[in-house]
Symmetry: C2
């Protein structure tokens, strides 16, 4: 029954894909703006519903709604520039054919909603926007933690499609919480790519399904990480208080429910680290207990905290205000560099407001930890220019381990700009080469096609001789903006 249902939906989605394939870049952008308008027009019912389903504060949800609308608009504008067409033209010459290449949509895409951003990484979130931006229809699988929010968003998308005059099949919706549904969707032969944000377990399972299909497909799973913060001597000595306030602020923001939550803090042991620990204790004591996204998440959080508590050479430094079975309590633990190197449980993500401070014996141990680190979304440095100059090799090697390097800031807060890379080496994601935030997220759903000696009038507009779309192209090896 699941298969029949999925089959019907994916067939609709194929029709939606065919429709999108016939739109010009400007038309696709206009369609996306129509969806943005419809999402923007949703009233307080959306915010209230999401608040009830996710326990996220109203102000945060209001902000996330704005971000979601902004994503549609910024991706639409990026699409209209033609940058993602990556048009390349090599004109015919002596013994040479005329060869022209552009990027087109890869086919219908399955998108799985995340629970921690019920707007921006769910139904009308960045994955849906970037897939449609690429000219791909979307089959969306709702997240069971916020079905009502999801349906309101799906209605807005349908409204946007209708107001533009596009068929509903551009965006189809799958309800239900069973794994069988998601599995059938990923395995359907007409689905050509998958986007997911969530747990390692879930993301890796989808990746494995995608790879084992008769026709393997790309599965973009963003699975989070511990986002280490490395503090260097000069900086730490000068700013223990400020750094502690920043760290605890970032660690507990949104009840610690960000993929980029800085779960691990590392520095060389010593006086400065002692001062930092004192400041961290003071800061965390003020953090109120808070409701997490759903029961399952709090259970996993309490389990993760409990597991940390039981590890040798790990001690509890301080906690936030007292928690309950339904309200999460923040906590910070301390361990040694040696223990962190030998006990792999210590580098597992605890999704929620819990941090682990790692006291390294010396700089060499910190280098060693960096080299042993698995892939991360972000790595943050608390450092002065002198620190950087003294540890240049450390900074260089850190690039191998993450998607984004931050200097004296905190990793929560992922701006929706061209320069953003929200991704990173496995196990942070299943494909280090693509971002899920920023207009470049569109690239995940494109593939190139070349045309050889093709009649000009039948070429896609992106490749026609007269450059009717006025887009940047590489013509005979030279960048040209006509």
């Amino acid at each position: 029954m699941v298969h029949e249902q999925i089959n019907t939906i994916v067939q609709q989605s194929e029709a939606g894909y065919q429709y999108l394939q016939q739109l010009s870049l400007a038309e696709r952008a206009a369609l996306m703006h129509a969806i943005a308008d419809a999402v923007e027009a949703l009233d307080e019912t959306l915010i209230q519903t999401a608040h009830e389903e996710s326990a996220l504060p109203l102000a945060r949800l209001q902000g996330e709604k704005g971000r979601t609308v902004g994503q549609w608009r910024s991706y639409a504008n990026a699409i209209r520039t033609g940058i993602y067409a990556e048009a390349r033209i090599d004109k015919a010459g002596e013994g040479k054919a005329d060869i022209r290449k552009y990027n087109k949509g890869i086919g219908p895409v399955a998108v799985f909603g995340a629970s921690n951003f019920p707007f921006a990484f769910s139904t009308a979130g960045g994955d849906t926007a970037s897939a449609i931006g690429a000219g791909c229809s979307v089959v969306f699988k709702e997240h069971p933690a916020h079905p009502r929010t999801s349906q309101l968003m799906a209605q807005a998308i349908a409204k946007g499609l209708a107001s533009y005059g596009a068929p509903e099949s551009v965006f189809t919706y799958v309800q239900g919480s069973s794994h069988a549904i998601g599995e059938a969707l990923v395995l359907h032969p007409a689905i050509k790519a998958v986007a997911f944000t969530g747990s390692f377990q879930g993301g890796k399972a989808l990746f494995d399904l995608g790879a084992k299909r008769a026709e393997p497909i790309p599965v973009f799973s963003e699975m989070g990480s511990v986002n280490p913060v490395f503090a260097f001597p000069e900086y730490l000595a000068a700013n223990p208080q400020t750094l502690a306030a920043q760290y605890i602020g970032s660690l507990t923001l949104g009840v610690g429910q960000f993929c980029t939550n800085p779960g691990v803090f590392l520095a060389v042991s010593g006086e400065a680290f002692q001062a930092f620990k004192l400041a961290v204790s003071a800061e965390i004591n003020n953090i109120s207990e808070a409701k997490m996204l759903h029961e399952g998440i709090q259970k996993a959080y309490d389990h993760g905290k409990h597991k940390l508590t039981g590890q040798p050479e790990v001690s509890l430094l301080a906690t936030g205000q007292v928690g309950t079975a339904t309200l999460a309590q923040a906590a910070v633990f301390v361990t040694t560099g040696k223990a962190f190197l030998t006990n792999e449980h210590l580098s597992e993500e605890v999704f929620g407001p819990t941090g682990l401070l790692v006291e390294c014996a010396d700089a060499a141990e910190m280098y060693h930890i960096l080299d042993r680190l698995s892939g991360q979304l972000t790595i943050t440095f608390a450092a002065t220019d002198t620190d950087v100059a003294e540890h240049k090799n450390f900074f260089m090697r850190a690039q191998e381990k993450c998607g984004r390097l931050l200097f004296n800031g905190m990793p929560t807060g992922v701006e929706v700009v061209y320069g953003m890379h929200h991704g990173g080496p496995f196990p942070a994601t299943t494909d280090a080469r693509f971002t899920s935030v920023g207009p470049d997220a569109v690239k995940r759903f494109l593939r190139p096609v070349s045309f050889q000696n093709w009649p000009n009038t039948f070429l896609p507009a992106e490749l026609q001789e007269e450059n009717p779309l006025q887009i940047a192209r590489i013509v005979d090896g030279q960048y040209r903006i006509d």
Copy 2:
């Protein structure tokens, strides 16, 4: 023992990767030009050796050598432009961080040599050149069909590296023909991507290995296809002779040992098709028996031909001059559209100079065949403008099935230009999103890294404020070539 050997080699390659990471774009380009010079300087011994090992004609090998040198140079020049850095800069603003992104090398790459292009798709071929262009060291696994050729090429690469002053570890070499060696290489945790050109069986096995690793890695296998040629009524009626000559020329070029060999020819049954068949028979009768790359390939070819002969509704139309156990005989078979649709063996690639003509009952059947087609490197149209106008939907849908669409030409001949896409949907390759020919081949081995609020002096040159490399960048959402 295999594992120890591979481990030592991959550790060397890691050092080579670290070295490359420290080179500027211009330095990397200069290193590639040094390798190009060293390959170019190889004397007739190379051509003679390759001729002995591959049976390919001397003139063809001379041409392939030039192509190989040209690849290094064109990729080097592309690298120097900074196009593959894809630099994006979003400057700090009110409440906004400074975020800058560029592409860097993914890590050490394993490259497997192909037998059918002992220069251009082997040791110093496009995969090696594009990986080094991306800043990735290469561990090269020789193809057992041309070990002496391969070693001469490896020596040239070593010479090029030495003349530039780069360490040998940038390119390391693995001998031997056992599958265990290749397997150990792909499974080594320090290897971050794999490139392969060859059979479906081999390419898919490597892909599966890459996906099942603890850390999955991208495996780019180019596995060939039947490269269908669709002939349309007006064109076929007007040009049966010319088309037959072109088709047989392309089918038998280089003893049919090209990935883009047009194995299947389709048109609607009728008078024009009859005239075409007569012309094909006359053409193929003139084709001499010829030596294939190695014994294994001829065996597989004879087996494939034999298998076709035994299929119901398939008949032999004509053959080339008589073959032997060591010389391949060209052949053309005929079948119906109906048989082609129902018997999957008929769309299997026969690597060598054998073609299958498919007589479709009507245009609808040809459409149906297109929709059922698996992924191809190329699809070719023999058509007039009127034909295209009448079958617009056919041409549009053909994009879903291949990487390159040709109009009134033949697919053999893959030019090394920006506009080339040598790739295509599975099973033509394991990743439709990347090409293995043309400067864009470099993209396979890159991944992005973002820098947030980073001190200008410590940024990679690609991202520094003053744009010291003078490369095109997207700054605050606008394309800029400073």
